[in-house]
Amino acid sequence: MKELLENIARSLVDNPDAVSVNEVEGEKLLILELKVADEDMGKVIGKQGRIAKAIRTVMKAAAVRNNKRVVVEIIQ
């Protein structure tokens, strides 16, 4: 899951090397903390959160298959 989110984020930003994802794993819940360069924040959030929403939708589909609930947090 972590790798998938990293791969998606890297394909969207100007500074792929600054992308990192921290995994916080609970019993049924997986929290993925996505960190990107400050100037790339807009590239993973988008107008009215449209990009963030699309990323969450894709991650959710992947989570269903792995019997988990996933939360994607974009952190500064």
């Binding site: 899951m1 790798e3 998938l4 791969n7 998606i8 394909s11 969207l12 449209r50 990009i51 929403k53 699309a54 990323i55 939708t57 894709v58 959710k60 589909a61 992947a62 269903v64 298959r65 792995n66």
Partner: protein, 212 residues
Amino acid sequence: MADYVEKESKSVEVAIEEALNEMNIDKEDADIEILDEGSKGLFGLIGGRNALVRVYKKVDYEEIIKSFLYPVFDMLGIDGDIDITAENNTLNVKLSAENIGIIIGRRGETLDALQYLLGLAVNKRSDKFMRVTLDVCNYREKREETLIRLAKKLADKVERTKKNITLEPMNPYERRIIHATLQDYGHVETYSIGDEPNRKVVIRYKREYRKA
């Protein structure tokens, strides 16, 4: 965003050669734009101008698309083929896979999200805008046929009963199909209510036709 090298030299060929060498790529991997063909001038002495070329590294769309989609396939546990066709400024990406439900999602929302992200990823590395469409096993085509059939069926019912019918929530693209189908169909008219993502189409009987 677009990587290019500009070179000035006594001839176009030499300038291209120099640019390719500097970029360390072959001619077939490059898009070449000639900015100035140069001119020898009079007797090769007076008013001569150097040639100026700009060389872009060709964007490998297939590579971008595949490196975006394969990890998604892996995570969704599907084994699929990716077929890419390009026409003008559109890249049509067709997937064929066994377990397509998971990649389509509820009302196609996963497929739409993937299409949107894929479009962003492609345009991030492309110097001209490319429209990217993503379909899996002709889902969109079949969905369109289903929507057209549904729209006509419900419109007939509205005409019979003269009562409004509200459809289930749909995305803008799907609502547009309903509106377009019923634009000149029977004595009905259509409009949308509610806010995204729960915006729905309503079909209603056209009153003025009853009086006429």
